[in-house]
């Protein structure tokens, strides 16, 4: 017995010496190294080929753009462009570039590079090209001189400055030298061609990216960190545990439960802010029973929004199609809230005054939160004698369902994340009929809503735009194409020695490394 105890004691000592030292000692060794836990596995370094948040991390840190979006709500601030003018008709944008801007190889970042980059993203036709599709054409960009570039838009686009942070500038010389047959896309699988404040020092797919601050970087200021470790941690619970243990300094994919668990944990602080990702249950407005607007309204009034909010964790109910933090959101908008009498009134106007229907609700398999909301729907509609058949489906299957009204189910759960901070991104993608067949707006179409969205898109005057968006919201709510759900709060966890972090609600996980510092 004594022998076993000794053994156990020895094993314990060895394990403790070996293991306990891992996080704290290693973190201490590297006091200018900041580690960020995330779920965004990076597979390439091409800012023009992706639009997910790992690609946005590259855009913010390895590459530069003409302008930056900072703060909440996001403000457009200079980056490569030091100043700009906009013509009265909103068509011509002229940017003055910072003459100090340099690529990582030391070559100047000039107007030609800007033109080359916009031409490249359009030629590749992937990534964030959709943001400028139909706005910037092949002949839109003119190089005035080395440090002046002029954009003549195909049509006015009020959100133009808001999309610019997401169109990166690449080094033309590097791309051309390695263009191959795909404009350098293969080259950028493992290499970079940027000018941003960080370079890639190590890349282990699905594991770690090590970013090193460029000592020759052209931007002034910045934090004291010299290395950022972008550590892939798939499970949000693991991110939370690692943050608690001090193995990482930031966790960017936490859930509401994690935030609750982190309350009062020494050395950890949390940031919980209104987010930009909306959740709604889209209804088939073109085919089947929900094509009847009265049935959609009956459902919208029967839905238990309070219960939805209760099971949502840190979130707020949506008041119409736009998040409340967005420019143009109409705070006076009246939206359906649970009112069974009113729901029954609308139901009485349909072919099914007594209910007796069974409708399919499809959600993404594995997304527990969506399943819970479907259960709220099921429970809510019992009062109308409507049964809901909840079906989990993989995301590719759901994409396939969105292709036509005939394949589209009566209820379709969908999160809509935004790419830039302007109501256009939700209004156009989520409710304009040109997006029919895609998952953001599979079937809904209303010519008068289309016309309003287009007017708002091109209107340069902010006040007039806000009025147009108010009309858009009222018209959409009147059509009841969706059960407007919730906007989940954005959640970030930090060690308390992290300084310089600024919350920006657009693509929250794509942290801007430049201002980050470590205290002590």
């Amino acid at each position: 017995m004594l022998k076993m105890n000794r053994r156990q004691l020895m094993l314990s000592t060895v394990a403790a010496t070996a293991g306990a030292a891992i996080p704290s000692a290693l973190m201490a060794q590297q006091n200018k190294t900041l580690v960020i836990g995330n779920q965004g596995a990076q597979s390439h370094f091409d800012p023009h080929a992706g639009q997910d948040y790992p690609t946005s991390v590259l855009m913010r840190n390895i590459y530069d753009a003409l302008v930056d979006a900072v703060g909440a709500p996001p403000q457009i601030v200079p980056r490569v462009a030091t100043e700009w003018t906009i013509s009265e008709d909103g068509l011509v944008y002229t940017f003055k570039l910072n003459p100090n801007a340099r690529f990582h190889d030391g070559s100047p970042l000039d107007a030609e590079a800007v033109k080359y980059s916009f031409d490249r993203i359009q030629a590749i036709g992937r990534g964030n090209n959709w943001m400028i599709n139909g706005v910037v054409g092949p002949d839109s960009i003119k190089v005035i001189d080395d440090h002046t570039v002029e954009f003549t838009l195909l049509q006015p686009f009020a959100a133009f400055l808001q999309v610019l942070p997401w169109i990166s500038i690449v080094n033309p010389a590097v791309i051309e030298a390695n263009a191959g047959s795909d404009m350098g896309q293969s080259y950028l699988l493992n290499n970079t061609a940027g000018s941003g404040p960080f370079k890639v020092a190590r890349f282990e797919p699905e594991s770690v990216i090590e970013f090193k601050r460029d000592p020759e970087g052209w931007r002034e200021g910045g934090g004291n960190t010299d290395t950022i470790i972008w550590r892939y941690v798939r499970e949000n619970t693991n991110q939370r545990l690692m943050l608690q243990r001090g193995e990482i300094h930031m966790a960017v994919d936490l859930t509401s439960d994690d935030i609750v668990a982190l309350e009062g944990v020494p050395g950890v602080k949390t940031v919980v802010e209104p987010g930009d990702r909306t959740f709604s249950i889209k209804m088939n407005t073109e085919h089947g029973p929900t094509a009847d607007v009265n049935l959609r309204k009956a459902i919208s009034y029967a839905f238990d929004y309070d219960e939805m909010l209760r099971v949502s964790g840190l979130a707020e109910l949506m008041q119409g199609p736009l998040p409340s933090s967005f420019f143009g959101h109409d705070g006076s908008l009246e939206v359906p809230r649970r009112d069974i009498e009113k729901a029954k009134e609308y139901l009485a106007k349909t072919e099914w005054p007594e209910g007796g229907l069974t409708l399919d609700a499809v959600y993404v398999t594995g997304l527990e939160q969506e399943r819970l909301w479907c259960l709220v729907l099921l429970d809510s509609l019992r009062d109308l004698n409507i049964n809901v058949n909840i079906i989990p489906a993989t995301w590719p299957d759901m994409l396939s369902m969105a292709e036509s009204p005939e394949k589209f189910p009566p209820f379709f759960c969908v999160y809509l994340g935004v790419g830039y901070a302007d109501p256009d991104v939700i209004a156009y993608a989520g409710y304009h009929s040109s997006r029919n067949g895609g998952w953001q707006n599979p079937v809904y179409k209303n010519p008068s809503v289309d016309a309003l969205i287009e007017q708002a898109r091109y209107e340069p005057d902010s006040e007039k735009r806000a009025q147009l968006y108010a009309k858009v919201q009222r018209a959409i709510v009147d059509d009841a194409p969706d059960i407007f759900g919730v906007v989940e709060k954005s959640k970030v966890g930090l060690r308390d020695n992290v300084e310089g972090y600024t919350f920006t609600p657009i693509i929250v996980q794509a942290v801007d490394f430049f201002p980050l510092s470590l205290k002590g």
């Binding site: 891992i22 290693l26 190294t33 992937r126 959709w130 797919p205 693991n238 690692m242 590719p396 299957d397």
Partner: protein
Amino acid sequence: MLRYLLFRIALIAPLLIGLSMLVFVIGRVLPGDPAGLAAGPYATAEQRQAIAAEYGLDQPIPVQYWRYITGVLEGDFGRSLMTRRPVAGDLAGYLPATLELVFFSLFIAILIGIPLGLIAGIRRNSATDMTIAAGTLSAMSMPQFFLGLVLQLVFGMMLSWLPLSGRLPFIISPPPGVTGFYTIDSLIAGDFTAFRYSVLHLILPALTMALAPIATIARIMRSSTIEVLQQDYVQTERALGLPSSLILFKYVSKNAASATLTLIGLYVGWLLGSTVLVEKVFDWPGIGLYATNAILNQDFNPVIAVTLAIGVVFILANLVVDMLYGVLNPKVSNKQ
């Protein structure tokens, strides 16, 4: 034996072709829009079509298969729709990580399972036997994802003995790749720090995977031991006065292990399958996770490549097991 082995090796090619065909057809006939998914949320119909054309998804299934299989014969497994990287390169990175985990788990399972079974068999119906039986039954009933989380909580969080996840601390660069196994590569490079940490990182995920095999191996080993102990030759050896240790280690354990070998061969396949869950819990960058992501995104090329890779490993493991029968039992090799 040699003829038998050659016959088994010759069977590998048709088996793999059949396997690839099956997975290929199943993948293609499933509903879904992989090109749309790869194109991203805001892509136009033209962009989706361009991607479908780029990856040949707009071609008839037989044409797609022919292109794929001829590519495979040249070592080209196509490109992943999601990562846009060549699948062969992805596999070369992820497969060694998974194999290292699988072999380490198997090593733990054999190291613990065989002696446990032997002891239980020798001390049949004793308190030790009962305890081992109860322990193995509990181990077999425990779901892996739960066990993994419990081990993380106890050894990672509460005791801080072992790392929570990953293959190495972020601060340590992986050793130069020779085999892709960090433990072996770090020894080759003489980097003992990397070796130490790679072993430490292996312990929790490997233990999570090994627990069920330990239990099964111990139970089979116990039955075989009991059976062998009742054989006439053991009784004769005892009557001749041979030392117990000699009887047990030279004759009983060797013969009892033959039955366990089949199980070990099968467990290679089982362990490869169970990496899907364990790699997720422990952030292990292996093919389990790669395959899961590929399946959820209907990214066909990686799915087929992973299936083929698992198929090859499984077939080879069973081939090695068959060869080991001959080593353990000369009668087998003489017969064949």
